[in-house]
């Protein structure tokens, strides 16, 4: 638990605490007078100069200084970071949404972007024709997001080159990345894919059937409700076993999909006998999906609760472009996966990356929209009230001898 200030420059106003002291000294230059019969027995050893250095009522002076201090602290935007508050921030999500408005994807992308705003504590929408060039601006915008889980969402149809030039290593670690693809069928004027989409939501046998046929519909995936994996296959005859899996990697059950695919005997046949060098140095834990010429078309790997599918297939051949090929390099060391998830794009063939936010960035607390200023205002008001009460009491006490003198 600690206290932070959202507007710390206001703390310079604390110098105003000296104002009551100065006022006190100035006011004391003119003491009240009291007529008295004779000074014969009044020693009056205290000089006026000495009185100026005295505090006639240190309690009032303290209260005045305290009032100013509390008001200054209130202006500085105090925020007490409690465990409960941090936990709440951890449950909230803020997003920077980069919307690709290029070409025919614009309206569908805007609609998809609008959906991403639901449930967000705060969102920043950036519309651009070149999403790849807007990432730096998005990162800058994310620095101004309030404390919460923070995501960078890119909504696009991800045509080839859409994210060219993105320096993924510049994306801060805490910033989650999610790519939302606007499907081509959602884009007016674009013909739907030849192979119908298959919603995977079944048991292992059904998943295996999907892998074999690439045409299936399964519902009721255990424990998770409706599934969210879409498996596309353009043409079974042309691609043989080609399957490209697109996943929303935040779903733990996705990890099982790869295992099921790998367990599929037909898939095993597909890459049996493929020389290691053909696999392009992919680690053995990867499941390569190969074309007939045995060139690697795609690869999938499981790491923890994540499923990654990498493909080098041209986007137009796959209804759902998946992970960046470069992501595979980051996955080599799977133990440090979360920390090393930033891919460096090296191929223009595929692009898709997704990772969750790693938590609330401490620096983002300065962007908090809430403060505890009101409590400090209340404290300032209470001290002011107490100061006025003390002054009234002192004035009343002084009035007694004055009346007696009269």
């Amino acid at each position: 638990m600690r206290l932070v200030f959202l507007n710390p420059s206001a703390l310079f106003l604390l110098a105003g605490i000296t104002i009551p002291v100065i006022v006190h000294l100035l006011v004391r230059r003119e003491a009240r007078r009291r007529s008295f019969p004779s000074l014969r027995f009044v020693s009056g050893r205290e000089t006026r100069a000495a009185r100026l250095r005295q505090l006639s009522d240190w309690r009032i002076l303290l209260l005045r200084a305290g009032t100013i201090a509390a008001a200054v602290v209130a202006l500085a935007g105090p925020l007490l970071v409690t465990p409960a508050r941090e936990a709440r921030w951890g449950r909230e999500v803020s997003r920077v949404v980069v919307v690709d408005t290029s070409g025919s994807a614009a309206s569908a992308a805007r609609a998809a972007a609008a959906r991403t705003l639901d449930g967000a504590k705060q969102s920043v929408l950036i519309e651009t024709r070149r999403p790849g060039e807007a990432i730096d601006a998005a990162i800058e915008a994310a620095r101004r997001l309030p404390p919460s889980q923070q995501e960078l969402v890119i909504v696009s149809d991800f045509q080839e080159g859409a994210l060219d030039g993105v320096a993924w290593t510049s994306v801060p670690d805490h910033l989650g990345v999610r790519l939302v693809r606007v499907s081509r069928e959602a884009i007016a004027g674009v013909t739907a894919p030849q192979v119908p989409a298959v919603r995977v939501a079944g048991d292992e046998q059904e998943a295996a059937r999907i892998a074999r046929s690439a045409v299936a519909t399964v519902t009721g995936f255990p424990d998770t409700g409706p599934a969210n994996v879409v498996v596309w296959g353009r043409n079974a005859e042309a691609f043989g076993r080609e399957v490209s899996a697109a996943v929303r990697v935040q779903q733990p059950w996705m990890a099982g999909v790869v295992g099921r695919v790998r367990a599929d005997p037909q898939l095993q046949d597909a890459f049996r006998g493929v020389p290691a060098e053909t696999l392009g140095g992919l680690p053995s834990s990867w499941t390569p999906l190969v074309e007939r010429d045995r060139s690697v078309m795609a690869a999938a790997a499981q790491s923890g609760d994540r499923l990654f599918v990498v493909t080098s297939a041209p986007p137009e051949t796959l209804a759902f472009p998946t992970l960046l090929l470069a992501l595979s390099r980051a996955l080599v060391d799977r133990d440090g996966l979360r920390e090393r998830l930033l891919p460096t794009r090296t191929s223009a063939d595929s692009q898709y990356v997704e990772r969750p936010s790693t938590g609330v960035l401490r620096d983002s607390i300065r962007n908090a929209t809430e403060t505890d200023s009101r409590w400090w205002w209340i404290a300032a008001g209470a001290m002011l009230w107490l100061e006025q009460r003390l002054r009234r009491n002192r004035a009343a006490a002084r009035a007694v001898p004055a009346e007696r003198a009269a």
Partner: protein, 185 residues
């Protein structure tokens, strides 16, 4: 008021009454005389007498003694802040001349217990002098003032002078009655 009441009592008894008011110098001086007109003059004179300023008690007593051509009573009302050696000598001279003297020491409660507070300048009503005080002064002041009262009383008794204290917070009739009863005894 107390002087006016005393004048009334004396005049009602058929005695001559006069008055002298003094500050730095003697002011109003009415030699003793009998009669209602004299009483009216005394009262009028007391009524217009200004108060305040420095007082020369010795000069006042000397002038009052001059007004007494025969032996009589001299009642002196004062705060006696200026009861100097000269004033004592004048008192002693009048007593030896056969006059009956009474000193009425006028004291206000504020003088006995001033209750000074911090941050106040007290102004001398006689001289206009300002002096800063604090609440810490109260105890020493009370002790010094009590000593002054006692010293004045001892001086009066030593010189064979009747002494009475007039407290301005006590109703004057009660104090006058007490004085007269004491004198009658």
């Amino acid at each position: 008021m107390f002087a006016a009441a005393l004048a009334l009592v004396v005049s009602r008894q058929g005695d001559a009454v006069g008055t002298l008011t003094f500050a730095e110098r003697p002011q109003l001086a009415l030699p003793p005389a009998a009669g209602r007109r004299q009483l009216a003059r005394v009262h009028a004179g007391l009524e217009v007498t200004p108060f305040g300023g420095f007082t020369d008690v010795a000069a006042g007593i000397r002038r009052a003694g001059d007004l007494l051509r025969t032996r009589g009573m001299l009642l002196v009302l004062s705060d006696f802040y200026d009861l100097s050696d000269g004033a004592r000598r004048e008192l002693r001279r009048l007593v030896r001349s056969g006059h009956d003297l009474s000193l009425f020491h006028v004291v206000s409660p504020e003088e006995i217990d001033p209750r000074f507070t911090d941050g106040v300048d007290v102004e001398d009503q006689e001289t206009g002098e300002l002096r800063p005080v604090t609440a810490a002064e109260n105890q020493a002041y009370r002790e010094r003032f009590a000593e002054f009262l006692e010293e004045t009383r001892r001086t009066a008794i030593r010189e064979g002078i009747d002494y009475a204290r007039l407290d301005t917070s006590v109703p004057l009739p009660a104090q006058l009655r007490r004085y007269l009863l004491r004198r009658a005894a």
